[in-house]
Symmetry: C2
Subunit: 401 residues, 2 copies
């Protein structure tokens, strides 16, 4: 359908692609649909009363909280986060190494503003989080994708990939990696590979965006040190968020990195939203200050471990073993399923008929692929729905076998 | 100072300029400083108790409010706004003609994403809001600036400006105009000129971004119809915000426009922050639903009218008449001062010495100018500070005379 806008739109506008996950909402909302699609926390465990209690901060700090905030972020929240994240980060970040953002999607947007010119390359896992690559794509990114195994990105392939791209005249700006409980793969990047990745970034002068929204939601095993904690030269930007450990409706996230780069991102943030909602930041801060974050984390972890186990149990009960492959995630939100004999898109259509939804694998491959994969979120659906949904999925799969 | 980042930064990064207003914060915060710089509401009248009461929505809707929201915005808030803005907009906007944004700076960012390629032109008033042009500048905009008089943009100059730019091969995408109580000029765009501007936009196939954060804060005279209300073809995007009529710390704003364009902007918003803080949106909604917005507006208007009058009174008492020119604004937040015989930058240095701050005129001229102008915000400082601050300003001016 043509309109007067056709000749006014930008090139980005003509190419922009909606998020396949966001755009599934109308499918997910069909009556009776059981959805494993969105990477959504379980609303049943949201700490609603405690979060409401955090509104008490208006009594104390109302005038500041309702005023424009600094672009850098609400200072009490930053002070809390620097302290709270220190054990994991290997040191306490300085206040001016941290920027509070409107969701960690904004970290990606701001880093792209700071680093990417049209046609510049980003190195990422294959597959990787589609929300991240869509943001980069809007900024004109091209992608150098690196295959993964159970220990994440096959870092040993990087030198060849980088050399080849450089010979083609491409400029590589940063590596995007989801280090813990990868979205969509569910795997961890091994410590060895973290070290190796940092070495390679040093050698080729790349920035690393270490995206870690799930790191605090580990069910099994020991926490792995962030690449940030190994970094001597300040080339790692570490990003995390309150979306998975408190509530995504806050849209409060943060990143930590080299002062100079954080400052660049801050200046770009002045131009995109001036500052993150101070109301939301202050309530998140007050919630943390009252000790509720630390109290809530073990609850989340136990709850989601149970949900993961329930999903895998249902897999074992209802899915034909010879038709599906998956790896048990040690944390996070997702199973990544391979159906070697069944095209995922055909399975998806059949599943939707049976009122069960998941996210197709293809959009997670920015350079193509994933035709026999899909992502299942285990955190959102109730135990009963999970059982029933996987049962329906099993029936759908059997119709192809 | 050079760093390994120098060869990694984007072109935008090498050119980006910090907001001169945001970057004045360290000056404003000096002890004893009286600031007329930032366009900030008076925290003394923030409805803190009523806003806190709006946290009651967590009891009712906590599960939804803490979850990811739709990118389009929190539906109850959109429904409220469509209804509430209808009388002024000339009709009730449809839900899918409206997008909730993270401050109205984000409206500008998203419209630039949708329309601007590097080097494309935006038509704007001269002077105009520096925050807006910095966002556009990051997107590679060039500016066609139109001189103003007491009735706003001299629209009659537009055909020649447009023809000249087109002859130079430039592409013009949209007109940016602040229609009521212009920032920084304080003037209204006359109804005649609104009509004429729309005609010209039709003729040259331009979009109009009608930015109206101050429209509901009118002290004198009748409300003027928005250009949006005159628009038959859907080329006007109307933007407004809760920053000036409730509290900027919410970062909740909205825009209304042609469905197709709003959809484009929504898809870009998926990539910049997924959705505006649902926590903030829901509290703003609840505050409005409880009737507090309508009750607060007359109070804001009376309060700021008094503050405007107090500032003008102080001007008359303390500023040498032959050295300053200004026009009384009928609403909004600002006086725009001209000092024909004194360079504003020299006056600024002198004023800072005397512990009084304002914003220099120059950054409001994207193509240069404003060397004898500065902006004074009358809403923020207390009556006593206003009197004392203007007295100091008068002393500073007299040192040049």
């Amino acid at each position: 359908m043509s309109s007067f806008l056709d000749s006014i739109y930008s090139e980005a506008s003509r190419k922009v692609k909606p998020s396949p996950i966001r755009d599934m909402l109308h499918v997910i909302r069909q009556p009776g649909m059981i959805s494993f699609a969105g990477g959504m926390p379980d609303p049943e465990i949201f700490p609603i009363g405690q979060f409401k209690e955090a509104a008490g901060i208006f009594d104390r700090e109302g005038k500041d909280v309702l005023q424009y905030g600094t672009t850098e972020g609400y200072q009490p929240l930053k002070e809390f986060l620097c302290e709270w994240t220190a054990p994991r980060m290997g040191r306490k970040p300085e206040l001016d190494e941290m920027l509070i953002t409107t969701g960690s999607t904004q970290v990606i947007d701001l880093l792209c503003w700071a680093l990417l010119d049209k046609g510049d390359c980003v190195i990422c896992e294959e597959p990787t989080f589609v929300g991240a690559t869509l943001t980069m794509y809007n900024h004109g990114a091209e992608f150098l994708t690196v295959p993964c195994d159970k220990d994440g990105m096959k870092v040993e392939l990087l030198p060849e990939i980088i050399d080849k791209a450089k010979k083609q005249g491409k400029k590589i700006k940063f590596v995007y990696t989801i280090v813990n409980f990868h979205n969509p793969l569910g795997c961890d990047l091994s410590v060895e590979r973290r070290k190796k990745l940092l070495e390679i970034a040093e050698e080729h002068n790349l920035v690393i965006l270490e995206d870690d929204p799930y790191g605090y939601v580990r069910f099994d095993g020991e926490d792995l040190p962030p690449i940030f904690s190994m970094d001597k030269s300040g080339r790692v930007v570490f990003a995390s968020s309150f979306s998975k450990i408190l509530a995504p409706g806050t849209r409060v996230a943060w990143c930590v990195g080299k002062r100079e780069l954080i400052r660049k991102m801050t200046v770009f943030k002045q131009g995109v939203d001036v500052c993150t909602s101070v109301v939301a930041q202050a309530m998140v801060y007050e919630y943390c200050r009252l000790g509720y974050l630390d109290a809530f984390l073990p609850k989340i972890i136990d709850h989601y471990r149970d949900k993961r186990d329930a999903m895998e149990e249902a897999f074992k009960t209802y899915l034909p073993k010879d038709q599906v492959k998956y790896q048990t995630p040690k944390g996070g939100f997702f199973y990544w399923i391979e159906t070697p004999n069944i095209p995922a898109r055909d399975l998806f259509d059949k599943a939707i008929e049976k009122k069960v939804a998941f996210v197709l694998g293809e959009p997670f491959y920015p350079n193509g692929g994933g035709k026999h994969n899909f992502r299942m979120c285990f955190t959102f659906a109730s135990p009963e729905d999970t059982k029933e949904g996987i049962k329906r999925l099993g029936e759908a799969i059997r119709e192809f076998a």
